[in-house]
Symmetry: C2
Subunit: 197 residues, 2 copies
Amino acid sequence: MPKAERYHHGDLHDTLLQEANALLNEQGVEGLSLRKLAERAGVSRTAPYHHFRDKNALLCALATQAFAELDSIIERQLESAGDHPDIQNFVIEYLEFATENPEQYELMFGRTIWKSGTPTEELKRVAYRSFRRYAEGLGALVQGRLPAATDPLRVAQASWATIHGLCRLVIDGVYVDREDMQAVSQQAVALIMAALK
Amino acid sequence: MPKAERYHHGDLHDTLLQEANALLNEQGVEGLSLRKLAERAGVSRTAPYHHFRDKNALLCALATQAFAELDSIIERQLESAGDHPDIQNFVIEYLEFATENPEQYELMFGRTIWKSGTPTEELKRVAYRSFRRYAEGLGALVQGRLPAATDPLRVAQASWATIHGLCRLVIDGVYVDREDMQAVSQQAVALIMAALK
DNA sequence: GGCGTTATGTTGACGGTGTCAAGATAACAA
DNA sequence: TTGTTATCTTGACACCGTCAACATAACGCC
């Protein structure tokens, strides 16, 4: 029996995630509707509800996937770095990830899930795991090179905020153009490095 | 004749802006619908369309108002600063503005207008004017205290990205709590200042 | 004052959205 | 074979932004 005519799809869960990602890239979060998604998957409007509790859950699943990718980037950096972590290189990779997957990035950190929606427990877990790893890596780098009484956690938060803010400005198209991104990031890194002993 | 029964509202334009701001604060951008807004203003569904071309135009008007406020903060800082500009103080005021008006801040810099919508020409003007002033003020501060071949514009972009990123993380509730905000901002400022000669 | 033009406000309608309820179908376990 | 359960369906509801057509009032000109 041909797949298209079966009453049960067979692999709808994964198909939905795939098509949702495609739709996301084509039309952005605003263009991602469950109904369009269902149609693309060749299934009725409410079928997705048997695989995701609601739209928020679907979006969280997408964001969780994206965090896994970001996590692998961080991990790779930590490994290859050894005792010579290259911050500039990490920032470049981070910016690349964000600007090449702007819709996923929006989902990962954006209001859609964190403010207007409700992040899944799983999403919270992976999101904070990414940050923790980053903080640890950065902590190792700045170890003993900071002024006394400086909390490494604060440095991690501040530097992440810098990179994140840059991503947001570039992605949303405010104040910083895509061409300027590299230069600005170099400046940001230079500022941080200049502050180290 | 009592105001409530008049066919013509008389001051709908301003009333809409006011009520929209109220609705924004109560329910966020997602909760701001033209229909609810019209009802609050005591007017029919489509009446607002005679004062704003569409929802995007209304949102842009709100964002423009908010930029005017931010602008006055920046201006006040520039004036009172003289030759001793207090960056830390500016950052504190900026963060206050952003966290006390999170929905307006979202509108000012968020995807709703800049990515999924279309910023008005007027909005673009005021938005870039704010940044330009900030960049000039910061430029005066760091004048001659930067390593050679450092573009002040890049420093302005990088530092704005830092503050902005911090705001976003705090507002959306990711990685940085409201209580940590002050400490993180101090750390960020310290990093920048440490890099100056 | 009368009268046309324009600004402003109205109802009706259309296509889109998320999601619930009730029923159909198939897979699976006993 | 016979329940039980997972999956998928249609129907419905309440929202949403916005267009078209029409009603009302204000304003300027004779």
